[in-house]
Subunit: 89 residues, 2 copies
């Protein structure tokens, strides 16, 4: 069974990764820009970005030497749809 | 910071635990009842139930010798609200 939901929920199970997604709602950002509000090194942020990318929650593109992260809301949508089914209980 | 969301998302990051929550929408159930559809031992199911209980997604009560699990939808609601904020992006 292809389970797309588990990596999405696992990626969301971390406050730094959720904060990164929140930052990206304001627009695409580099690792340096994303690292700024956190007491965290750029390699640590990069590691979180790889988890988010593997879950399909962000995509990354390179512009000259900068690497931009972009929020991919479709993954959140999928997880949200799963949860919506249980809200009436 | 008290982070209630991370254990909720972590608990949801497993297909068996999501299936257990789906089963509980049909009503409270014992470990034996919950284990039946899975190729899994009752201790393995009990372990999943402890994760769900710690995340606040289920509660458990004892009736005579049986221990019943009950879906607590408020936790899902909390996670769902977090995600709803990102759906428009």
């Amino acid at each position: 069974m292809k389970d797309a939901l588990s990596p999405i929920f696992a990626a969301l199970a971390d406050p730094t990764r959720r904060a990164i997604l929140a930052s990206l709602t304001h627009g695409d950002a580099t690792v340096a820009e994303l690292a700024r509000p956190f007491a965290m090194s750029q390699p640590a942020i990069s590691k979180h970005l790889r988890v988010l990318e593997a879950a399909g929650l962000i995509s990354r593109s390179r512009v000259a030497t900068a690497r931009y992260s972009h929020l991919e809301a479709a993954g959140l949508q999928k997880a949200s749809e799963w949860m919506t089914a249980y809200q009436r209980y």
